[in-house]
């Protein structure tokens, strides 16, 4: 139990930034501050391991179970580390109709990243997300937050292969 919740291995400067953010966040109640705090933490650390969730729970005086409930509910929050390139394939209605599942399957196959875990080389992680609000560009993919519109499975493959080449060059 102890190692799972050990905060010492974290970058302490980032922990301080997170604590300052939580400390200065103005909210009606602690529950209201939870999602902003998680968002900030994921921005700083890339993902939300158990120790970090517990740390936030303690800072906000909320039960760890409730924090974990929120983190595991939203597809946006990740409990495992993401690859250098985090690919999110939108599976909202418009993207779905336009063939998002082909894009998703191709991305997983070419990147070698299945489920929540990242690829062996640490370059890629692939996940599906709910509607990101860019339905006019369906099917939509974001890579590290940058939006790529009107992507089919072939485009997806091309992007991943060229990224690999650049990285391995």
């Amino acid at each position: 139990m102890s190692s799972l919740f050990d905060m010492e291995s974290f970058d302490q400067d980032k922990v301080q930034l997170l604590d300052d953010y939580i400390g200065n966040y103005v909210a009606q109640n602690n529950l209201e501050a939870l999602i902003p705090a998680l968002y900030k933490a994921q921005t700083l650390f890339g993902y939300l391991p158990a120790a970090l969730q517990r740390h936030i729970a303690e800072k906000l005086d909320l039960p760890s179970a409730h924090v974990n409930g929120v983190v595991s509910f939203y597809a946006y929050f990740s409990e495992v580390p993401k690859g250098k390139y985090a690919i999110s394939v939108c599976t909202g209605t418009a993207c779905h109709v336009k063939g998002a599942s082909d894009v998703l399957n191709k991305a997983r196959e070419v990147a070698g990243a299945h489920g929540e875990t990242m690829s062996e080389d640490g370059l890629f992680s692939v996940n599906d997300v709910r509607c990101i609000g860019a339905c006019g560009l369906a099917p939509v993919v974001t890579i590290n937050g940058k939006v790529h519109g009107k992507i089919d499975a072939k485009d997806m493959e091309k992007i991943i292969r060229s990224t690999k080449e650049t990285e391995n060059a």
Binding site: M1, L4, P63, A65, F73
Partner: protein, 584 residues
């Protein structure tokens, strides 16, 4: 006046009625004498706990005004609303909800611990479901039996969230949450930790409201049968006060039926070699605790003294308030006192080898199972208590042995560890321990005889109550709390230094042990707790001796075996210690 603003006119099944503004359709239907089936809904009004998650959709009714199905437990009445509860659409809607729930529920009712006592099963029967048309993937989550007190089987969960209402709102412990979503959702602990790694206090209130067997007690019955069937073992048993006023419910009696005599007879027929009363331990606890209280009072603290009989409450303070561990009484619980004496005093008196004695405790509680396993509660190699079974488990054993409980002749406890006073009866209800302590402390300090030992002000069911008693000119401030949310208020005020309290009793469960997690299920009827409580006060009133220090067997115990009250031997056998427990 102004009534027209606070009431609403609605029509249910063509019956027009006026109901309070803000009522739900379910409330209104009840008022009109119309039954609507419910599953997730739980209204423990007197405890300020209402589970209104509208998750199960079993209470769907037709809102004719809107032409839609609505969950009656959460739909708020509006003026002119027209509701039908028995149209084809409403009945079919409810049936579909139920069929969908059942399609993802194990069909092992015959061997389930909740068989014939399950809300889901009962509902399936009353809704006349004979076939489940939906076949699909079933949940597959690991079963958690890590705690030794509560077994959590998420595969039997219907996501009603009643457990969370108890854990979050009544107990403010919050170890459960829905995790993930959609088909993958389960109600679990943070990071899927074992229950034993969380700050679960094992109070068992989740068990007492779970409509299925997703949360149930960890069974000790097989171990008890093994000991009873082993002729080389000397197996003894003790019964807690709250068990005798509740077990009758399992045999068709009204709640509050006092069945002590039948209970003892049943235990003897099951083959126990000694039948003791936990109430003897309660009297002993009072004698030791009153002494400890007066010592602290005369030596400038630490005060307040907190009673320590409730194991869930002890778990709570060890986990959440480790800085306050000097204030709980060092007295072991009555269960543990009787256990420790059974293997020392009883063994010596009867000439039985203590190595061969196994002590079984029958408790209204699931946390007592975890208490019995505490490292501190042993004397050398011998555990004070070896197995703990709940009121429900004992009822099941009596049925299993085909004992005709209802026609049993009354029997009585053993002559050793068997006598008890009225004061010990009320241990089983909130306020009882402190009332019993006050009776004994009063006589010890003043040297006067207390004529009326009934402290009415601390006898109510409110969550938090205060009273004062004067002892030789000094005012003693007393507080009583039940439910951990109320305990938390007291502990916060002690921590911040705002408390002027001297003596505090805390019980984790609503109403005290009468409402314990091991009791026959109340199925949402809190009146059951009131009846059990009244029965305990009756037991107190009918006892010739109503003060713990008047217990003759307790006096003999000190004379022959323990020596002084609060003395060295008493400390060895009857006192314990607490330590900080870090949990998630």
């Amino acid at each position: 006046m102004g009534k027209e603003y606070s009431s609403v006119r609605i029509t249910i099944n063509n019956i027009t009625l006026e109901v309070d503004h803000g009522s739900t359709v379910l409330d209104a239907a009840k008022q009109a004498g119309i039954n609507i089936p419910t599953l997730c809904h739980l209204d423990l009004h007197d405890l300020d706990a209402i589970n209104q998650s509208a998750n199960c959709r079993v209470c769907l009714v037709e809102n004719e005004t809107r032409g839609t199905l609505v969950p009656s437990c959460a739909e708020i009445v509006q003026d002119g609303m027209r509701i039908q509860t028995d149209t084809k659409k409403a009945v079919q809607g409810r049936r579909t909800s139920m069929e969908l729930l059942l399609s993802n529920h194990p069909k092992e009712c015959l061997t389930c611990v909740k068989n014939l006592d399950c809300d889901l099963q009962e509902l399936s029967n009353s809704m006349n479901i004979k076939d489940i048309p939906y076949q699909g993937e079933m949940m597959n989550h690991p079963v958690d039996d890590s705690s030794g007190a509560i077994i959590k089987d998420p595969n039997k969960c219907v996501m009603c969230r009643r457990c969370m209402t108890m854990c979050d709102e009544v107990q403010t412990v919050g170890v459960l949450s829905p995790l993930k979503r959609g088909f993958d959702v389960s109600v679990g602990t943070a990071f899927h930790l074992d229950l034993s790694e969380t700050s679960c206090t094992y109070c068992g209130q989740c068990v007492s409201v779970c409509p299925t067997a997703a949360l149930a007690e960890h069974p000790h019955v097989p171990n008890v049968w093994r000991r009873l069937n082993n002729p080389n073992r000397h197996t003894v048993v003790q019964i807690a006060p709250a068990v005798r006023v509740a077990i009758g419910e399992m045999f068709g009696y009204e709640a509050g039926e006092i069945s002590t005599g039948k209970l003892i007879a049943a235990l003897r027929r099951l083959g126990f070699d000694g039948v003791f009363d936990t109430k003897f331990g309660a009297d002993l606890t009072i004698v030791e605790e009153a002494n400890e209280f007066l010592e602290r009072l005369n030596n400038d603290g630490p005060l307040p003294l907190l009673t320590s009989c409730c194991p869930a409450w002890v778990n709570f303070i060890e986990q959440k308030y480790p800085d306050l561990l000097d204030i709980p009484s060092s007295c072991k619980s009555p269960q543990s006192m009787v256990g420790s004496l059974s293997k020392t005093y009883y063994a010596k008196t009867m000439g039985v080898d203590p190595q061969n004695i196994r002590m079984v405790a029958v408790m209204p509680c699931v946390a007592k199972k975890a208490e019995a396993a505490r490292d501190e509660l042993a004397y050398g190699e011998q555990r004070d208590v070896d197995y703990v079974i709940t009121t429900r488990e004992l009822g099941a054993m009596i049925k299993e042995a085909a004992i005709d409980f209802n026609n049993l002749p009354d029997d009585s406890f053993d002559d050793i560890l068997g006598e008890s006073t009225g004061a010990s009866s009320i241990f089983g209800t909130t306020g009882g321990v402190v009332e019993a302590t006050a009776r004994t402390a009063y006589e010890n300090v003043t040297g006067k005889t207390l004529e009326n030992g009934e402290f009415e002000t601390i006898r109510w069911m409110e969550g938090l109550r205060k009273a004062s008693v004067t002892l030789n000119g000094r005012t003693i401030n007393i507080a009583v709390a039940h439910e951990l949310k109320n305990a938390r208020k007291l502990l916060d005020s002690i921590r911040s230094g705002d408390s002027d309290l001297d003596l505090i009793e805390i019980m984790a469960c609503p109403g005290g042990c009468i409402g314990g997690g091991g009791q026959p299920f109340h199925h949402g009827d809190i009146n059951v707790l009131n009846k059990r409580r009244e029965a305990l006060y009756t037991l107190d009133k009918n006892n010739v001796r109503r003060k713990s220090h008047e217990n003759e067997q307790v006096k003999t115990l000190y004379q022959k075996f323990l020596g002084d009250i609060g003395g060295q031997k008493a400390h060895e056998l009857l006192h314990t210690s607490y330590s900080k427990k870090l949990r998630i």
